[in-house]
Symmetry: C2
Subunit: 190 residues, 2 copies
Amino acid sequence: MKKSVGARPFIFPYPVFLVGTYDDEDVPNLMTASWGGICCSEPPCINVSLRKATYSYNNIINRKAFTIAIPSKEQASLADYFGITSGKNNRKFEDTGLTEVRSDLVDAPYAEEFPMVLECKLVEYSDLGLHTIFIAEIVDVKVDEEKISAQGKPDIQKVKPFLFSNPERAYFDIGEEIGKAFSIGRFYKS
Amino acid sequence: MKKSVGARPFIFPYPVFLVGTYDDEDVPNLMTASWGGICCSEPPCINVSLRKATYSYNNIINRKAFTIAIPSKEQASLADYFGITSGKNNRKFEDTGLTEVRSDLVDAPYAEEFPMVLECKLVEYSDLGLHTIFIAEIVDVKVDEEKISAQGKPDIQKVKPFLFSNPERAYFDIGEEIGKAFSIGRFYKS
């Protein structure tokens, strides 16, 4: 029997995105966001939602670009830091000693230390209430060379990503593979 | 050193959503989708992207509503089935013996067997290319009673959700908790 837990933003799992932007004075910033995901295959697009009150919000509006880094589980504390501090009061790259890289494809920075980064150009955005959804085209994905699979893709075992759970307000590791997609469901075909 | 793997829809992790809709003849359908996530806290909103070619696409346009079920890892094969078959040629509830429940809040069905379901009202949609993004307000979240935590939220250990990885084209379990959010990053505060 199902019971209501209310109208709340509950799903499993949520990603941990680090949104990289430049402010008016070219100071690079990183902000953690878990409201987002992929929203189109061709052209490849990603969406991420931010509150208007964030420092990153105006950066994206002004520069029409951002990066999304995927941190590894060893970087969970660092990723959490970027979610509980604001670029209004902190120079987050300086405070953490991260290496700023200026994307040559979009007007946004990323940190060399994270294993994987998406360079994104703003396509459209829409004010939904507390959050504004930003939809951007992924113009490139860059991955640490040793973390790329033989198939030329980011390797989940080497990137070692992790996930967020809003109901638990906690981060979780990714476990074992439980089956191949577009395959294990064939059993049900009649 | 980072290397380009191309402009592709690569992130970690992706959710496994089962999108529940009614067609013109009130036949319930379920379709697996991993392009999506939460996009607003207040009002709570979710986004999911579908190709125009899917059976669910017109169902959502016509009914302006859908449900999103979160399957458990024991249901991974079943979830995969809903992604490799179309409602055009299959009556998926009948074929799998699932129990149809008509939402009393939105004009869409869900299956009683999945541990958690979100009832969603379409707010807006936008054609991005191969996919169209649907943004909907979550009007309620219902969870199997025994899978609700003492805090009144879906319990990740009891719902037992899993995740999709597009680079691996595989499903993965969720692992151990690695830290509390809005907490483990305090170490970096100067």
